[in-house]
């Protein structure tokens, strides 16, 4: 027995209304996304239940993980206190040490060799004005981490340099992150472009920053 409609007209009306409303919402969403740019500055990030999507988030993190574990990123996020070097991620020749601030020690500070820009020539020191490892009290290790472990670490403010979601999103355009795509002669690039990485990074975070299963 139908409780709400005797002749079915009520049901038909609600179906039509819902369909029209859905189409309107879809058009608005498509219109809004057409004007959104990935490189737009992040003003405010809010998570809502509607944005969360564990499947999309974890899928995007697969790309993020592939990049972060590539030599261009992982070499400066070593498990020990000596940076890694080269496409095979061997220990940095001369064994420079991290130091408390991540900028080296004594006569072996990063900027003693690493200039503000890449030094011309094959396998010469790559450059950046802010070249450093993570500091000793926040090592942010990538080397040896599973996708699950790294995803958890990246959103843990006690392990990620006290970065909230907004700062994490902004970090995609950090100067040292970008340097990974300008590594100097003789070094392979990360497995995807910076734009693809950033898209995956934003998707992972905006969809809830879910960690892949162990």
């Amino acid at each position: 027995m139908k409780r709400y409609s005797k002749n079915g007209k009520g049901d038909l009306f609600s179906v039509k209304t819902a369909t029209i409303l859905s189409i309107l919402v879809f058009i608005m969403a498509v219109g809004a996304s057409a004007f959104r740019k990935d490189d737009a500055p992040v003003k405010e990030v809010k998570w809502s239940a509607a944005d969360r999507d564990s499947i999309e988030s974890v899928k995007a993190f697969a790309t993020v993980y592939k990049v972060l574990m590539s030599p261009r990123c992982m070499n400066c996020h070593p498990a020990g206190d000596v940076p890694l070097q080269g496409d095979d991620s061997h220990l940095h020749t001369m064994a420079p040490k991290r130091g408390h601030d991540g900028k080296g020690v004594f006569a072996m500070k990063c900027s003693n060799c690493h200039q503000e820009t890449n030094t011309p020539g094959l396998h010469t020191p790559p450059g950046n004005p802010d070249w450093h490892l993570p500091p000793a009290d926040m090592k942010m290790v990538f080397q040896g981490k599973s996708a699950h472990e790294l995803a958890k670490q990246l959103v843990d403010k006690k392990k990620n340099g006290n970065k909230d979601i907004k700062k994490l999103i902004e970090h995609a355009d950090d100067g040292l992150v970008l340097a990974g795509w300008n590594p100097g002669e003789g070094r392979t690039l990360p497995p995807v472009s910076h734009a693809e990485f950033k898209k995956a990074w934003l998707t992972w975070l905006n969809k809830g920053a879910y960690a892949p299963k162990k």
Partner: protein, 158 residues
């Protein structure tokens, strides 16, 4: 080419140089200070170490433009009378064999002693690992740095 002035060993050198030129070229060929040596040219050996505002930079990969407005100190300027504790200890222990790398070795050791007046063997290894010596004088280098630390301590005490 550009007109630039480099302050080397407390003296201003007006030079005409490409700002991209390695600092080592300017020190040796334009300022005429030959104590700093060319080794590998790619920041791998440490023979060319000079101080730039007190830091032990490798002058073969440091552009002249980075040194403008800063104080450059070469081996000739480490002390006025070769009396820096590291120089005295180097002489006392008779560290060098061929001597080619020792300008860089001494400049690196001087930074270590400034930052760690009483270094351990590990500190010395950490600080000096980037200075290569083909003659293998590493044990004498370590001994001389310990001696220099003692000399420095005595000087500061008395």
């Amino acid at each position: 080419m550009a007109k630039i002035t480099l302050n080397i060993n407390k003296k201003d050198y007006p030079l005409e140089a490409d700002p991209q030129m390695p600092l080592l070229w300017a020190i040796r060929d334009l300022a005429g200070l030959k104590g700093t040596k060319y080794g590998c040219g790619v920041a791998q050996c440490g023979a060319c170490v000079v101080h730039l505002d007190g830091e032990a930079v490798r002058s073969c990969v440091t552009k002249v433009s980075r040194a403008v407005g800063k104080k450059v100190v070469t081996i000739e300027g480490l002390s006025e009378t070769n009396s820096h504790p590291v120089q005295k200890a180097w002489q006392e222990i008779d560290v060098p064999q061929c001597g080619y790398c020792h300008s860089g070795q001494i400049m690196s050791a001087a930074v270590l002693l400034r930052e760690k007046p009483d270094p351990t063997d590990q500190d010395i290894d950490d600080a000096m690992a980037g200075n290569i010596c083909r003659c293998g004088t590493y044990l004498r280098i370590r001994k001389a740095i310990h001696l220099a630390a003692e000399m420095q301590k005595k000087t500061s005490q008395g």
